[in-house]
Symmetry: C2
Subunit: 209 residues, 2 copies
């Protein structure tokens, strides 16, 4: 056969994973749970980086240092992996932050290019805006969660709507910054952005009528 495109050598074929996660970079041998986790981690990174469509299961598996067939054994489908990444990241963030701090926290987590311990769910959300399947449903749910929390901050009659607008702003900032890389927002000082946004958002939420 002629098609010998590079996919066999697995690049870094050092036994069992790139030492990618789980602190101890020791060899992981035949550990189903760890393999699953590695796949989830890798998927989170790639979905956040490239979005759902442009991430292939082969890429995920390679980054996780795992055979791609295992992805299907443990998750069933690419969509299922996406759902789990989103659900995990998104819900955890909301649940673990009190509403008053949620906006600032989410904003900061988006403004800092921390890479490592960054919450991938928002970036993944943003970069996967094309998709339609079950995929869209889970994205809606995460948004719902955020908005619910934000709505508690307003006494206005249409608190829900205002919360949606704040959420929209949050996502929009991520979009312009990370996805489009537009300056000056992309490299603006986080504190300054937080200050401006929080000010306007607060006035939006508090103002009645």
């Amino acid at each position: 056969m002629v098609t010998d495109h590079v996919n066999a050598p697995t690049e870094c074929s050092c036994v069992y994973g790139v030492g990618f996660m789980t602190s101890e970079r020791q060899v992981r041998k035949r550990d189903a749970a760890a393999t699953r986790e590695a796949l989830l981690q890798a998927a989170g990174t790639l979905f956040a980086e490239r979005g759902f469509d442009r991430t292939t299961v082969r890429d995920i598996a390679k980054l996780a240092g795992v055979n791609q067939a295992l992805l299907f054994r443990y998750f069933g489908s690419k969509e299922a992996v996406f759902e789990e990444v989103m659900a995990k990241g998104g819900f955890e963030q909301v649940a673990s932050t009190e509403p008053e701090r949620l906006l600032e926290t989410a904003l900061r987590s988006m403004l800092t290019r921390d890479d490592r311990n960054r919450d991938h769910s928002i970036a993944a959300y943003l970069r996967s805006s094309g998709s339609t399947g079950t995929n869209g449903e889970i994205r809606r749910q995460v948004g719902e969660e955020y908005a619910r929390a934000l709505a508690t901050l307003s006494d206005a009659e249409d608190a829900d709507l205002r919360a949606d607008l704040v959420l929209a702003w949050l996502l929009g900032i991520g979009l312009v910054r990370d996805v489009s890389g537009k300056e000056p927002l992309a490299s603006a000082d986080a504190d300054r952005v937080v200050e401006l946004v929080l000010g306007a958002a607060r006035s939006l939420l508090e103002r009645t009528g």
Copy 2:
């Protein structure tokens, strides 16, 4: 061969196009310019609906009622079509609106589900957030254009940054509304949304310090 998936019959194989555009729904015979235009129109619709990745050149050609090879003759590549759609739609909108009205106009054009004479560029922008190539470049440029116009509205020292934030809000609203379909924003009254957003945006742009 077994692969006889339905792609040959072209569905509506009525001679030359679906009467899709160009007012006069008469048969268009061997008109290169019109064919090009039809492709551009169809592409705009589909990119806005599904984003770059999930739109195939075959779909574009089918909707335009044109052979798909022509797309490559007239544009060279799928990416080039996207660029032209974005450039056309985006730049026209900005150029034809004075800055004071730009925010409201863009907002309304996003809030109304007019379908027909709607500007596709923003929706296409939003739904194509995964892509990376030349694709990303043109999206950046359109954003640049909007932000430049918006920045003229502020006297603050960091007018550019504030303009970016307003742009981000605009896009975020489109994202939450059209792409995620999140309620109550998705079916909220346009006037109400405009009122809330304009108020907050104005205060953000005007406030100094």
